[in-house]
């Protein structure tokens, strides 16, 4: 009888510990998502030039990370999350290429792909109009220049500069070697500086 009670008590404690640990890991994941989601959205948006689609891709990446990798050490989350997101972005871009070809075949242009960065620009907050205009214009020209980069250079630049991943994390996110990351990043910066000219020097 006593043994039965003891077993029950141990079992209850075990469940408590498991529950607490699950809640802690859920809270950690929540903090991680809250930290990266806005930057991830902007990175996706710069890549695909559509905020609604970018929101869907970011949400999908968050769900996939939570479903498949929530149990992994939290240090691995950022590279894994961006790897998922980059894959989803590439898939989206491939689908767009096919869709555009089909539309051209049927004689219809891509009418809904006219991206207007000014219309999609965020609301200003606490800056003078001149400052706001300067920053906005700077970001606009930067986005245009980034869009002109080859895909791998674009990924390396955004993950290193915007997200702040180190070389190893960027390599994991891009699924390539650290040497390739350094090469892509260096070429991207060189190309962007040339494109943007003295305004950005």
């Amino acid at each position: 009888m006593n043994a039965g009670v003891a077993t029950f008590a141990v079992s209850c404690n075990g469940e408590d510990r498991t529950g607490v640990s699950t809640l802690q890991s859920e809270a950690k994941l929540n903090r991680f998502f809250a930290e990266v989601e806005k930057r991830a959205l902007r990175i996706a948006e710069i890549n695909i030039r559509d905020r609604d689609e970018a929101l869907d891709l970011v949400q999908d990446a968050m769900i996939r990370l939570a479903r498949n990798y929530a149990g992994r050490p939290d240090k691995e989350w950022a590279p894994l999350f961006y790897r998922i997101l980059q894959n989803r972005i590439r898939d989206w871009q491939r689908r767009q290429v096919v869709r555009n070809r089909v539309m051209v075949w049927f004689g219809k242009g891509n009418e809904d792909n006219d991206y207007d960065p000014v219309a999609a620009a965020p609301d200003p907050a606490g800056r003078s109009p001149d400052e706001e205009l300067q920053t906005h214009e700077a970001m606009q020209s930067l986005e245009a220049a980034i869009s002109g980069l080859p895909a791998r250079q674009r990924e390396a630049f955004m993950l290193r500069t915007f997200e702040g991943l180190d070389v190893a994390g960027t390599a994991t996110a891009m699924g390539c070697s650290q040497g390739s990351v350094k090469t892509h990043y260096s070429r991207a910066v060189h190309s962007l500086r040339e494109t943007l000219g003295e305004h950005w020097q």
Partner: protein, 130 residues
């Protein structure tokens, strides 16, 4: 010297780009932030759904495991094999008993009798004539 200048220029450029990017992130509108928040909650709900699915299927898994164990224990019972082996041996024993050989000898005997009867029948008219 030039290389160091290039690195410094690259760093300066990256810092400026990061500042402009951060600015655009900070200026995201309320609706977008709200949609991101909803997306995050949906992702976190996925963990709960996965866990509750596991808990839901755990009893069924337990029953399946217990059934499998019972089947293995039942079919893997050595007593069944012990019974089957002597049965096969008994069949062979029956086939090889002396009775069976005697039966074969009897067959030869019956065949000889049949043959001799036919011979007698064939001889009978001659005897009658005699």
């Amino acid at each position: 010297m030039n290389e160091r200048n290039d690195v410094t220029a690259e760093d300066t450029f990256s810092e400026k780009a990061k500042a402009a990017f951060d600015e655009s992130v900070d200026n995201l509108d309320g609706e977008t932030r709200s949609r991101l928040n909803r997306g995050r909650q949906a992702a976190l709900a996925e963990i709960d759904r996965k866990r509750s699915a596991w808990i839901q299927w755990a009893p069924a898994g337990g029953v399946a495991a217990a059934t499998l164990l019972a089947v293995v224990l039942w079919t893997g019972n050595p007593a069944v094999d012990e019974l089957a082996a002597p049965a096969m041996a008994a069949d062979i024993e029956i086939l090889l008993t002396e009775d069976s050989l005697e039966m074969l000898e009897d067959l030869e005997f019956y065949s000889w009798i049949e043959l001799s009867d036919e011979t007698d029948e064939a001889m009978e008219p001659a005897n009658n004539v005699g």
